[in-house]
């Protein structure tokens, strides 16, 4: 490990490292940011939900969107896997089905960033995944 010789070095280093622990801070205040829950049961993983999740996490970061991506159990819409629930602050949660990378891209760009509605919404008969328990 090299020495941190100047203040600028320290700042650069901090910026670089921040993402490593950012998650821990963000998760303390999920209500302030976009929350994305990816269903991650065995059935979902089989249909590629892990790839979807990885894609979403990386893309959000690249596009500077403050969001928390968590995983959750099977939402029960196995026909539409991978499924993803998105909660934008101040709005009701919405569940999307068949979320592959392309779909995910669309959700981020259109729904999350611009508030436009995107196709593929699964009709809601519940309020939030957590509360179904």
């Amino acid at each position: 490990m090299g020495k941190i010789k100047t203040l600028a070095d320290l700042r650069k280093m901090r910026e670089k490292l921040k993402s490593e622990t950012d998650l821990r801070d963000k998760s303390e205040h999920p209500e302030d940011m976009v929350q994305i829950k990816v269903a991650m049961a065995t059935c979902c993983i089989a249909s590629g939900s892990r790839e979807t999740m990885n894609y979403i996490v990386d893309e959000l970061e690249k596009r500077n969107v403050d969001a928390v991506v968590t995983q959750t159990g099977c939402m029960g819409y196995c026909y539409a896997e991978p499924t993803v629930e998105v909660t934008v602050p101040g709005k009701e949660p919405i569940v999307f089905g068949y979320v592959d990378e392309k779909k995910a891209n669309e959700i981020i760009e259109r729904y999350i960033k611009n508030g436009e509605l995107v196709e593929g919404i699964i009709p809601m008969n519940y309020r939030s995944i957590e509360e179904t328990k």
Binding site: R14, T42, T70
Partner: protein, 597 residues
């Protein structure tokens, strides 16, 4: 970029380690590997989460799931269920005893709701052995800021303006302390971190050192810059091996990064830190005693003045602050004096870390804003009294403090209010007592501690505390007289009035406070020869209830001194003059025929 989508934070504090949290980490790592999730999920050993009652704690980020009392064998289920399938392991979640509900994240737990974490900001969040994680969370930013943007005078003024007061007990303004040392002109000055936390039942400093050692390193360097010192010493209890290790690691990492040593951050400022070990003497928490101990002598306090800021370590100007005080410094520098002083009460700014212990549901480490009430701390954060018993008192300030009772529950906690209530802030130990605790016995317990820990230098403390203890012993044996109370009060007052250092000046507090608040218990011991809480053995009487006794002779056979007589199938009898109150008969009797009166 950031490789890990999921972080599993596992508490690596002393308490959780004692409950095998190291094995939990190992097993989690193993399971993650088995599942092939190495680049997806990361296990981080962090410092104390504070909720020691329910340790070991495992926290899953980002969904903020808070698992309690996790055993090594639970690792598999956590990984298979939660990490792989995203299903929370319900049986490991916290059960709120009040509402009988399950709370999955710490945010919604009463234990955490009212807490404000400044000194503990990184505890339970970062890996204390990884300087990068500290830097990521604004670590060493404050040092950089002070070195580049502020003169030492400005730095001191900022600390002064924040209203930060010493968290080790005295409550002296930290900024003023720095100013006094800064004003002295000397070829060498020293920054000392007092980590000789000796109060029984207090573990605030240990947790900070274990969970966030870099904050202390950074703060000491800031202090060094402010007062004009290039040399820091941490006086740490030898009984804290984990804290020592982590601090050593932190110092080494800081040196490797050039954040300690010569020409720090290219500013020309030079600072380094060394460790000195305590060796088991409570009195060394007193700053002059601590300095003598660091110089290799008996840890006997000396008269102040001269204060360490004028003549301290090796006779040079020295600033002594405790761990928690230091832990506040970087945040104050980063967020400003106004921000800090907006937290807390009128007279006491910021937060205070307390170690909650004793007969309370949620034993652990908490950080709350000054001015919070005891009721909030004990009943909301602490979850009330264990086993539904009745609250009797809370002991604050360790052996130097006093007992606070029911009537103090709504007093806002700050330095002055606690003193007014006959106790003190101390370093932050809070031991809760319930109806089963005898307050005379508790006073005796603390005196026993001071007698053992008195350095012996001044007569009132050396002999006086011994005599106080003897009188309490006499009372708990049932030989007390009303004059003993007068004697306790007069003796206690004089010891406080004449002792050399803070130890003796406060050692009679537990006695005086319990006499003040629980005179009825003293009277019961003295007049009625009874211990209402049933603690003082000498005042207990074992009796056999005739109706319940079947004459099985079990008790008589169990009695080690032959105090129980009676023929088979006839009612037995205890000769109280022979009885040594060992309790063997109660244990043996299957018919609840032996009772304690």
């Amino acid at each position: 970029m950031s490789g890990y989508k999921i972080h599993l934070l596992v508490c690596g504090g002393t308490g959780c380690k004692a409950s095998l949290s190291t094995a939990v980490v190992e097993n989690l790592n193993h399971e993650i590997k088995t599942q092939g999730l190495d680049d997806f999920a990361q296990v981080v050993t962090t410092g104390c989460f504070g909720f020691c009652e329910k340790g070991p704690i495992v926290k899953i980020i980002p969904d903020n799931t808070f698992y309690v009392q996790v055993k090594p064998e639970d690792a598999r289920e956590i990984v298979e269920e939660h990490i792989v399938k995203g299903r929370k392991v319900e049986r490991l979640l916290y059960h709120d005893p009040d509402k009988e509900t399950i709370v999955s994240d710490s945010k919604h737990m009463n234990f955490y709701k009212k807490q404000v974490r400044i000194a503990l900001r990184n505890c339970g969040v970062i890996d204390p052995e990884n300087i990068d994680e500290y830097i990521a969370r604004d670590g060493y930013k404050a040092l950089g800021k002070v070195l580049s943007e502020k003169t030492p005078e400005e730095a001191i003024k900022l600390i002064k303006d924040s209203g930060l007061r010493g968290r080790g007990g005295g409550g002296f303004s930290t900024g003023m302390k720095w100013e006094l040392a800064a004003k002295n002109i000397s070829d060498e000055k020293y920054v000392v971190c007092n980590a000789d936390e000796g109060d029984p039942g207090a573990f605030m400093d240990r947790s900070i050192l274990e969970g966030d050692p870099h904050t202390v390193v950074e703060a000491m360097a800031i202090c060094g810059y402010s007062i004009g010192s290039n040399y820091g010493l941490v006086y740490i209890r030898a009984e804290y091996p984990l804290a020592i290790e982590r601090l050593k690691t932190a110092i080494k990492q800081a040196r490797d990064y050039g954040l300690l040593g010569n020409n720090i951050l290219g500013t020309g400022f030079k600072f380094d830190i060394e460790l000195r070990y305590g060796a088991g003497a409570f009195v060394c928490g007193e700053e002059t005693a601590l300095i003598h101990s660091m110089e290799g002598s008996r840890g006997e306090p000396t008269m102040k003045p001269p204060f360490p800021s004028d003549s301290g370590y090796l006779g040079k100007p020295t600033t002594v602050n405790n761990v928690e005080t230091f832990a506040n410094i970087p945040v104050i520098i980063n967020k400003g004096a106004a921000w800090f002083s907006s937290i807390g009460s009128e007279k006491a700014k910021g937060t205070k870390v307390f170690a909650l212990a004793g007969k309370i549901n949620n034993v652990g480490l908490i950080e709350v804003p000054m001015g919070i009430t005891l009721r909030e701390v004990i009943f909301e954060i602490g979850g009330g009294i264990k086993n539904g018993k009745k609250f009797k008192a809370v002991q604050t300030g360790g052996p130097s403090g006093g007992c606070l009772t029911e009537k103090h529950l709504d007093t806002p906690i700050d330095y002055d209010n606690l003193i007014a209530a006959g106790s003190m802030m101390g370093s932050g130990g809070m031991v809760v007592m319930d109806e089963d605790d005898c307050m005379v016995d508790v006073a005796k317990f603390f005196l026993d501690f001071t007698v053992e820990e008195s350095c012996g230098k001044c007569a009132p403390c050396r002999i006086g505390n011994k005599r106080l203890h003897e009188i309490l012993e006499k009372i708990t044996k049932g030989n007390g007289t009303p004059e003993d109370i007068t004697r306790l009060i007069n003796l206690g007052t004089v010891i406080k009035d004449t002792s050399l250092c803070g130890l003796g000046q406060s050692s009679p507090n537990p006695v005086l406070a319990t006499i003040n608040n629980f005179m009825d218990e003293y009277t019961a011991h003295i007049e009625d020869k009874k211990c209402p809480a049933g603690v003082c053995k000498a005042l207990m009487k074992y009796e056999i209830v005739d109706e319940n006794c079947v004459g099985c002779t079990a008790c008589a056979r169990a009695c080690p001194v032959g105090a129980i007589t009676g023929e088979r199938k006839e009612i037995h009898h205890i000769d109280t003059s022979l009885c040594i109150k060992c309790g063997a008969c109660i244990d043996r009797c299957k018919f609840n025929a032996v009772i304690i009166k």
